[in-house]
């Protein structure tokens, strides 16, 4: 019962992040389109459009990258995994790579958080929307933490596979 609830919750969060990404992108696309029509036909434009695009762009990059870790979308050069046939070696190397990535994102999350806290403390605002600037920074610590978690998870899976000597399959 409890397990089912957790599973459902995880599935829901997974879909939530994907839907958020798609809807923000489509929403911005639509807004830009409306902006073009307004400016061309009515000589009127939204001055806040540029700023909104810039700050949501940060969100999109980090959110997309976080989902990318889940699906293995990130580009990498996997030559070594094709040339070497030892399963244990390949799982071991993947474990090391994923641990390194996870630690990297712990660092990004930590310093991103510090940056957001400082901006909040100094009361910096954005130039057009006049909202607190630290909002724009929050996706960095938040999604870096998620990426870190996912990389640790992947590392754990490869580590177990290495111990058990399971065959290596490309994802």
């Amino acid at each position: 019962m409890f397990r089912d609830a957790v599973k459902w919750m995880a599935g829901f969060l997974n879909r939530l992040e994907e839907w958020t990404l798609v809807f923000i992108l489509l929403g911005l696309g639509l807004l830009s389109f409306v902006q073009v029509c307004c400016r061309y036909l009515l000589g009127f434009s939204f001055i806040w459009m540029e700023e909104l695009n810039r700050y949501l762009g940060v969100l999109i990059a980090f959110l997309g990258a976080a989902i990318g870790v889940k699906y293995g979308t990130h580009f990498s050069m996997d030559l070594v995994y094709e040339k070497v046939s030892s399963n244990r070696f390949r799982h071991g190397l993947k474990t090391a790579v994923n641990v390194a990535c996870a630690i990297m994102f712990v660092i990004v999350a930590y310093y991103g958080w510090i940056q957001a806290v400082k901006l909040r403390q100094f009361g910096v605002r954005t130039s057009v929307l006049l909202v607190p600037k630290y909002w724009a920074y929050l996706p960095i610590p938040f999604f870096s933490a998620i990426m870190s978690f996912r990389f640790f998870d992947l590392a754990g899976k490869h580590f177990q596979a290495m111990l058990k000597g399971q065959p290596f399959t490309r994802t």
Partner: protein, 425 residues
């Protein structure tokens, strides 16, 4: 310090680490070892790189490409082109190349063009007796026009790191793109004559018009996008949004190939892909920040101008470097790092940023096609169930043609600079 960067870069790259994270770790480790700057600069520079409204055009163009491929625009475009040139000798192959040229004007990416046109045309060509080798080679190579003909995602990325005008670079890609497409067609016609390839049955003008009417919305999009940019209706960034909204409207309301409920499903893959691409851009610019703060572009310019006699030699050397790099990695990442690094050198040799940008786009196109690491090759493998060796063997003649075009574009800057000079300067 340079040693640290180079060693980490290649070590982590060959360990199969995601390129974006590899760049970040290289930067972070070098910072921690060789400077006393706080690591707080990492999120700051990631943010600074992404804090730019131009880069949203990348997800927009990628999504628009997905919508057109998963809808029916790509297929209808092929029908239109085929109805016009199908009856020439080697007609179906010419139609395939032209369809790639056309789709390239809709899509910003090279693998997407191979998927959209190749998935239909490769089986069709093989069935019509053009031979597996030629069919796979032609479509895999012609698909790479996706990055040369505007819109083009590598062009947008180049303009982002070099701070130059997207409208100009887009314009500069048109003639080289047509040159390459034209050369492929010429080669096709030559082979068709030599091998006596059959013509398909000819189509009446009535049928042509009917097919054109069916496909008109797809044919109109490049006109709208490029026309809109140069008539001042929108900026290149907004053009991306316009083409996304347009293709959604056409596929949902007119062709009814995509239901409104399918939209998230159609878009999610492209959205995640663009997130990853933007992340590479941000990581690359963080490394560039580190290199710049150590005055490396300046030292490199000193070194190069001391040893390389002219801009031409420099361009040749850079092309060779990229052709080699492109065999083992994604040239887009290499371009992101190396272009700003060479910026001062370009200035000293008086090389136009736009001309250099087109050369970059061509070597990126090459990188998509050279084994062992070539995205287009992987796509073709997926489409045809052939091995990497078989696919690679099919593209050599086309690589030779591309190399010839690259030389022409390098040594005759007017090929790329003529059109922007005429219309924009």
């Amino acid at each position: 310090m340079i040693a640290t960067i180079v060693i980490l870069f290649f070590l982590l790259l060959f360990m199969g680490m995601p390129i974006a994270v590899m760049l970040l770790i290289t930067t972070t480790a070098t910072l921690a070892i060789h400077t006393n700057t706080s690591l707080a600069v990492i999120p700051q520079q990631l943010f600074n790189a992404l804090d730019n409204s131009i880069l949203l055009s990348i997800p927009f163009f990628i999504l628009a490409g997905n919508v057109m491929t998963q809808g029916s625009m790509a297929r209808r475009l092929i029908d239109v082109v085929n109805s016009f040139v199908g009856s020439f000798p080697g007609g179906l192959a010419i139609a395939g190349t032209l369809a790639c040229l056309f789709f390239a004007a809709l899509s910003g990416s090279s693998p997407a063009t191979v998927v959209a046109i190749g998935s239909v045309m490769i089986p069709a060509l093989i069935e019509a007796g053009y031979g597996e080798k030629f069919s796979i080679g032609l479509l895999t190579s012609a698909g790479s026009l996706g990055v040369v003909i505007p819109p083009s995602i590598p062009m947008i990325l180049y303009c982002l790191v070099m701070n130059t005008s997207i409208a100009e670079l887009f314009m500069a890609g048109i003639v080289p793109g047509l040159l390459i497409g034209g050369s492929f067609i010429a080669y096709t016609v030559y082979l068709a004559r030599k091998n006596g390839w059959q013509r398909s049955r000819s189509v009446t003008w009535g049928e042509r018009l009917r097919i054109l009417k069916d496909g008109i919305w797809g044919v109109l999009l490049p006109v709208i996008v490029l026309g809109g940019i140069y008539a001042g209706v929108f900026t290149p960034t907004e053009a991306a949004a316009v083409s996304l909204v347009y293709s959604l409207l056409v596929e949902i309301c007119i062709y009814r190939e995509i239901g409104i409920r399918d939209v998230p499903e159609v878009c999610i893959q492209g959205a995640v892909l663009s997130g990853c691409l933007l992340f590479i851009l941000a990581s690359a610019m963080t490394l560039i920040w580190l290199l710049t703060s150590q005055r490396l572009p300046h030292q490199i310019a000193d070194l190069i101008t001391a040893h390389v006699s002219s801009g031409w030699v420099f361009l040749i050397l850079v092309s060779i470097l990229f052709l080699i790099l492109g065999t083992v990695m994604d040239n887009v990442s290499a371009m992101l790092i190396l272009s700003p690094l060479f910026a001062e050198t370009l200035g000293r040799f008086g090389i136009d940023y736009i001309h250099y940008g087109i050369i970059m786009v061509l070597v990126i196109e090459f990188g998509f096609l050279t084994p062992p690491f070539g995205l287009n090759l992987f796509i073709a493998m997926g489409l045809t169930d052939k091995s990497l060796v078989e696919v690679s063997n099919s593209i050599w003649p086309f690589l030779a043609i591309l190399l010839f075009c690259l030389l022409l574009v390098t040594f005759i800057p007017q090929i790329s600079l003529f059109l922007p000079g005429l219309l924009l300067r």
